[in-house]
Symmetry: C2
Subunit: 430 residues, 2 copies
């Protein structure tokens, strides 16, 4: 049974804080093991990849090669059903169209003081994309991680995917082909992150690494941060549904379960001012759970981390949501647009009764790589800005330099940086 | 003596790679010590801050209080010269004006499929700014770190600054007052980062931490990343000057020394097609170095990490610069704008003969917090985007949901996520 909270209860604040603070992940201490793996790959390159893949994935890369060949990728594409290829292409097209609007413009202007100022955007040269193996090897994630990089203009997109015992999801390779991934390697874990960050004979180093992974992958990303850029450290996924009496309990239940089926540490929460709706949704979840293939994951997720919160009104629901900063926020009300302005912290908003989160997971166009575990308080979902960077531009004329010089020199002297001041004043003596 | 490289030499590529790979910082292994400090602050809060500040800063916070009082801040402002207050205000105004143009617009549109898409930007609620104590306690850095946060709309800006033996730079407090910092605490080191990330009775937790610090501060930021957002891990600073025969050797030398005076691990590089200019600049550096108060820092920096590279033409200079991705890039040529388009990787560009980097350090308007140690390959200087985050918006109507549903369900089924597919299809059966 999920927890049921009522805002009118005397101990509500305490219970809400306990819900906010609940840890859904036991962090494993793998830092030392990961450090050893990274050093091994730095020292021995491809030979370390062969040995570590033998050990962890039971696969002999000397037999298979480290990189997938174009023939292997094409074969995977061929064996994917045309319906699925059509769906992947449709999704990729919509994701690309949405992300294209995120490209910023370069700027150059001269201000009142006669100073030229501006900014110039360039793509990162090379990006690495980590794709988990096994259960969580999702073709949709390949599209979501690759599309913004392609839109940004990244030239080299290197994908790594572990293939335990040599098994790979062919649809993942097909998605990579559709998305324009330039190279694919059958390595995973911390060793794959190390190879992308530092390079080996086969895998040239990249400048930024994105994509989710297990505790070893997360620890490796944290350790190579600085040598390369990284995206966020992803945690277990969550949805928060805000619904009023206009909502359909069966639909809300389906959305809560779609989140819960990801894994046992996923979290699904309903907040509503309507206690009757809360009851009806709880009943519907139990009913739909019975016939769900992933009952073994969704059941524990809902029982352990699910929550149903009855509040006094919709504004109170939004206020609690802002404190939670959910990854996904569904506004299951008749006029969702009226609430959007009040949302301060969330990864993505899904508007109204006909926008289940799953539409955004696949084909809506928005990105499904979103900040988890309350990090929407400071982080954004994956977007084009993750793959471009900004160069600032500054230019003075003799006269604008003269105008700014006295205050620049005063500040330099206050900081005891005489050579700074001198580099300004030396230009005034002509 | 700095290294002198000539592109026409047979071993040039090898020498350039060795310059690129030179480590200017010995990384101290402080991870374990930092982990203990963070845990201590998490467990004991203010009491840990008192004990650690006693130990590291020889200051009794029980006597002074952890927070600076408004009276103390006002007194520091009063004792700052009016010339300096004027310079700080001038700088802050210019920095603010430049950063205001970085604010993105919210967006909401409906595409051909009838799907509503958009994005909405919100400021981070609370930000922590780390200001080093001692030598590197720079008022200009207070302005540079705070201005983009203020422009973004951040409500709470908490500054921490260690005050060894109780000594603080009053100009730093004056700058904080001018920039609108909302609270200032006399703590530093890993303990200050821990307090900002997890909160104590006195210091409420923030959502993001920015600002440079020593190895302990850097390690602490790495460890709390995920609990809060962090900015880049800053390394030693560097300047690359590209100059042709139109450049003034004395001015270039002054700029190289302005960089070198920061500390012994700073790096100053000149690339020029003009061997005579290279000779003249080297001579000028030696001459100016003699009379420089910070000769003890600038001398070793120039001798150990300085470099003068003679190339065949300006395009070759830009190509090498793109491989280095320098923090600061000066284009000391007559027509710098013609080169800007060719620059792919740099933190900031300074245009022409009359724009010494120091103008950008203080008063140009651009930010002086820039990506060091070649991280401009994937990172930007500090800007408004570091203090805002993006919520994506997606909305379907019954008919646009019907149009997208088949491909969404096909992808969900390919990923074996039946509840995802069901959350879409259940809405079609009415």
């Amino acid at each position: 049974m999920p927890v049921r909270l009522d805002q009118s209860a005397a101990d509500f604040e305490q219970q809400f804080l306990s819900l906010l603070g609940a840890k859904r992940e036991t962090s494993i201490e793998v830092g030392d093991a990961v450090e050893k793996i990274i050093n091994d790959v730095r020292m021995r390159g491809d030979r370390a990849l062969v040995d570590l893949t033998n050990k962890f994935d039971h696969l002999d890369l000397n037999q298979t090669g480290i990189a997938f060949t174009q023939d292997e990728i094409d074969a995977a594409y061929q064996e994917t059903s045309s319906q699925l290829i059509g769906a992947l292409n449709h999704a990729y097209k919509r994701i690309t169209a949405y992300h294209e609007r995120q490209l910023p413009k370069d700027e150059l202007y001269t201000d009142d003081a006669g100073v030229t100022l501006g900014s110039k955007w360039n793509a990162v040269d090379a990006v690495g994309i980590y794709v988990p193996g096994g259960l969580a090897s999702y073709p949709s994630s390949v599209l979501m991680n690759t599309a913004p990089a392609r839109v940004a203009g990244v030239e080299r997109i290197a994908m790594v995917v572990p293939t335990p015992n040599g098994v790979v999801n062919p649809t993942v390779l097909a998605a990579a082909k559709i998305a324009g991934v330039t190279e694919i390697y059958r390595v995973g874990g911390a060793q794959a992150i190390a190879a992308l960050a530092f390079g080996t004979d086969t895998i040239k180093p990249v400048n930024k690494i994105v994509g989710p992974g297990n505790a070893y992958v997360a620890a490796a990303k944290r350790q190579v941060y600085g040598t390369v850029g990284i995206d966020m450290i992803a945690g277990p996924s969550e949805v928060l549904v805000i619904a009023d009496d206009s909502a359909n309990p069966a639909w809300i239940a389906a959305d809560l379960l779609a989140q819960a089926e990801h894994d046992k540490s996923a979290q699904s929460i309903l907040i509503t001012p309507d206690a009757a709706l809360a009851d009806a949704v709880e009943k519907e979840v139990e009913r739909q759970l019975e016939i769900l293939p992933k009952k073994h994951l969704a059941g524990p997720s809902w029982d352990d981390y699910g929550a149903v919160i009855v509040v006094k009104d919709i504004d109170a629901a939004i206020a609690l949501s802002n404190r939670m900063a959910p990854e996904h926020l569904e506004l299951a009300v008749d006029d969702p647009q009226a609430l959007v302005g009040k949302v301060r912290h969330a990864g993505a908003i899904f508007l109204g009764h006909h926008t289940p989160e799953a539409i955004g997971d696949y084909i809506g166009g928005t990105n499904h790589v979103l900040p988890t575990a309350r990090s929407a308080r400071y982080a954004s979902g994956l977007n084009v800005h993750d793959f471009i960077k900004r160069i600032s531009i500054l230019g003075c004329t003799p006269s604008s330099l003269s105008a700014l010089a006295p205050d620049a020199v005063a500040l330099a002297e206050a900081e005891d940086l005489q050579a700074h001041g001198r580099s300004v004043s030396i230009r005034l003596n002509r």
